[in-house]
Symmetry: D2
Subunit: 341 residues, 4 copies
């Protein structure tokens, strides 16, 4: 690409500065704007990047005809407004996860991007980690055999959020990982949760996804756990993966374990000898330790350059939001299954 892509970042809170730093370090990008409503924060972050223009009004940023792309790192409630305005102004857009607060908003943004021929990407950061990319590679090579289940636990003594519950806070991570690794659409969601701190804001939740066969996915999210656990089991008929994100380096373990089932004529008597468990070596692959966000920014920029869809496009964001919305509905109904389409 001959010319650098000019990027503006809206939101300088917790995640914004990381996006800014990664765009600055990427040769294909030129950070041209940073924007935040809070003047002090804008000043503090901006000081490190004197070459970027600053504004508290995102309209000013979008009005710059030389600006190619916008990254939005603001609270989820504002994603729709900012992304819509950016797309209407003809900018490519990268949005923090969760994509939007509703399916309707997500679909609207996807439509806008399509009609404008613009790149719309959601920052599902975990999809770009060395661990998840290695898992995807193993699954794609068919090493696990037929996938049986996906079980994820993401719990700790977390910072209590006042605007979203534990599902909207933590589930985007695991749902985007599952969406990427498994690549299948669930049929129904059953979710249960409970509020121990503030009425109406669940701090513990269990989310279950059903598919059109025996594959099953389950998630435990919790802000009130005495111990920190971030562990995902991905079981296949031939091998099984344990992904433990707390482990400093050995995050992915591939177990050469499985179950072999053979059904023959005389099932009644012969059954027990026909189901056999197999257990072999464990393999702990070395992982790429590059910061995931570096890959996120690179993917956004090269999708723009190559005029293609990014790996985690608006549709990926929509799939996750659809599950979040359904989980919320199921929780509100006391655990009734919610069918998806």
């Amino acid at each position: 690409m001959s010319r650098r892509i000019t990027v503006g970042v809206i939101g300088c809170g917790y995640w914004g500065p990381n996006l800014i730093r990664n765009f600055v370090e990427n040769e294909a990008a030129e950070l041209s704007w940073i924007c935040d409503r809070d003047a002090r924060r804008l000043e503090m972050v901006g000081r490190r990047y004197p070459f970027a223009r600053r504004t508290r009004d995102y309209g000013e940023l979008l009005a710059d005809a030389r600006l190619d792309a916008v990254a939005i790192a603001t609270p989820v409630a504002t994603h729709y407004e900012f992304a819509r305005a950016a797309l209407r102004a003809g900018k490519h857009v990268l949005v923090e996860k969760p994509f939007t607060t509703s399916v309707r908003e997500a679909e609207d943004l996807i439509g806008l991007a399509e009609r404008g021929g613009l790149v719309l990407m959601v920052d599902h950061t975990f999809v770009y980690t060395g661990a998840v990319r290695k898992i995807k590679e193993i699954v794609e090579r068919g090493e696990l055999g037929e996938l049986l289940y996906f079980d994820s636990v993401r719990i700790n003594l977390g910072i209590f959020q006042t605007d979203v519950n534990v599902v909207w806070d933590l589930a985007p991570h695991d749902l985007s990982i599952m969406d990427y690794v498994v690549g299948r659409d669930p049929l129904a969601v059953v979710a249960n949760g409970s509020c121990h701190i503030e009425q109406g804001i669940e701090n513990i939740a269990y989310v279950m996804l059903r598919f059109d066969d025996s594959f099953i996915a389950h998630f435990h999210f919790n802000w009130l756990s005495p111990v920190k656990i971030r562990r995902t089991l991905i079981a296949g008929s031939r091998r099984m993966i344990v992904y433990d994100d707390i482990e400093p380096t050995e995050k992915v373990r591939v177990y050469d374990k499985g179950v072999t089932r053979e059904v023959n004529g005389d099932k009644e008597t012969a059954y027990q000898t026909l189901v056999s468990y197999r257990t072999g070596d464990v393999w702990v692959p070395k992982l790429d330790s590059t910061e995931a966000l570096k890959h996120v920014c690179a993917e956004f920029l090269s999708a723009i350059g190559e005029k293609r869809r990014p790996l985690t496009d608006g549709e990926a964001g929509l799939r996750v939001v659809r599950l979040l919305e359904a989980a919320q509905t199921s929780i509100a109904s006391g655990g009734q299954p919610v069918r998806l389409r």
Copy 2:
């Protein structure tokens, strides 16, 4: 007690020999009969206890007027028949878990025992472990504050059962622990499961219990996990327990962690500073390492001697069976909540 209680054990498979050994080692008991349909097994086990009479016909055992009590360690499908016959023959009865295959059977046995003035006990072994008794003691002293949730994971690459699914196989452990420690009756059960090996026999299941307030209990049972996990979180408003049964000695950890919530007038602005997390020391109490089954047998014998209800009586067994039955119904309905009573 002047005279020893005479005990007969029906079933010499996996668990029966452990019961036999513990009755033999208990001064208050006299092992007078052992019974098994399989002649070879009967011979093998019986050789070690030449003083006990052997029979393949439990009717012969029950016909012995000098026999006081019977312990039943056979497959669950036969519990009802054997226990009913024993109670009708005027014997005190100890039954392996799960108590029965249905609520109806359990209620029938409880009625029989009451009318006969007989002790009816269910061998909820875990209730008698040093770990669970220590947890009960901590909860009873109120050290955890208000109970918030109970979360249990019991998974491993297990032996596939052909007669029962993973819920009937593993859940009796955790449900009886919860029943004992928490001492509350759930309002509804939501359960989901999946069959990967044999149609109709779930090898993975998630069971959720709702109560009349925000307390929530959740269980993950799994025969197809690459790793063995036996961990229960019991969270209270003041302290939290992690019970890890894999740990050789440090099974119970008490975390001085909690959340403090204060609501004041101006909730909107002040909220975030009013929810504060507290984190302090961790305490790992020393546990009684006596074999739990020794306590089970002692409790059975002293309940007979003292003509009182045992700790895990028929009602405790019934409460667990009620949950198992409801979980099965919920799984069959694709995760619909099943209300209890």
Copy 3:
């Protein structure tokens, strides 16, 4: 082999019954005698094997012309007397570790066995575990590259011995493992220890072995550790092994880690870039879980049948005793290096 080898076991304490059981289960052997000074113990163990003759006098056992072989599982102080008498009586001999209390005794027994054409074997049990055999296999294939060091920690809150110190109690395990895996003779021993419980009986000791190059071996033995650790590091220039015997199944981990050193002309300036650390996958091989003692007995019997030296022969036992003796000397001198030969 047409005829079964008749075996007598002397010593029915802690380890003897395990030997007896394994000889009974081996088709090539016939347990014909068991011997113990303690009548009660002899009776208790003997009851299970009514076909074996019993005696409290080992002379009676050795006088049986039909007896082929003797296994000695008595306190170390008596090994020499019993083994010498057995060899003189023309019996093949298997001795518990440590082989003898001195180099002189060990050499004497080796000479006796050679002159009599008899098998003399030392029960270095760990050498026959699945873990150590897998490690040996990896080392022999050259997968570790050049061996750099061997570091072993064997500590716990142990049972205090009144006849031997912690070195004679625990070191035979690790020294025999090192002897088998590394297959090299040390040049010198430096050992330090301390007595906290009983004067003259060290309960903590550090033993260091030097070789004729930069390879180094170090051992930490301790009866007064609050935690149980059994971990050995075996580092090579290409790969490194961590052998953790506490792990229930994943005892051996092979790290694809190493250091690459290149020396070029301009060492001063270029050095740092020339030493490069390499880190790759971790591999956890599945291990044979057969009881090690089964292999011990099989090796003893087949060495007798094939008239060959067993894997852990008298020489192997002597090499370990030589190190134990030197370590004791070094400790007594306050850590002075003791040269071997």
Copy 4:
């Protein structure tokens, strides 16, 4: 204190910027100078602190009559020259660990500071961590009973140093911890090491300290370990501590374990029943998580303000250097014990 203490920092490499940041954040200090030979590094670090003067010549810094104190974070070989010049210029001095390259240098600096009435402090950072201060507090309260041994392992796949060996690189941490916690002077050092990468630079070393009684201290330092271990055992007659610095929060565990010894008349027969092991609860105290270096800087500043000796004064630095020097001598002699004084 009415006036702020003016501080200059010499050395802007790995550690210097941390010192600078902590002095800037301390109200009692005023960062007035930063100094580094490397112009680029000086510029990079200096940009963040525009109020501090910069120089590549430490002489210029020392010539500033308004400068009160100097912190030296340069390679150990230069500590003596810089500290001596600073003390001669009448500045208070904080030196990185290890203090100096020799006992002679350390004694010289101590003399200079004393004659000048200046504060001389060594940055034994670990002494100021929450973990080590908690351990010190427990030991001082006598909770461990009589101290029996100190055993420390500090190993990992480390960055190979070209100027110092693994002892000079890693031992200052553990020796300063032991010096602080135990507070006793060893009588002799036995050390062994080996060079696998570069001749003359040990990458693995074992260091043993003897005292005038049965207390013993041992250290394992290693740059070539496949796994990272930072664990210290501190055993007392009544309780034992395991300090695991890898643990994110539960670094200190206090085991209520010990051994009780009673000697009575008839030792021979009664001995075994008189040594009894006691095992009780484990306690994991909450630790202060303040950055240790914040305490280091505060201690330096308040020692200056209060005209008193700091906790880790020149004498503490000297005691550690004396052990490093003796360990080096012992290694060079092939493990000969080196007596101290």
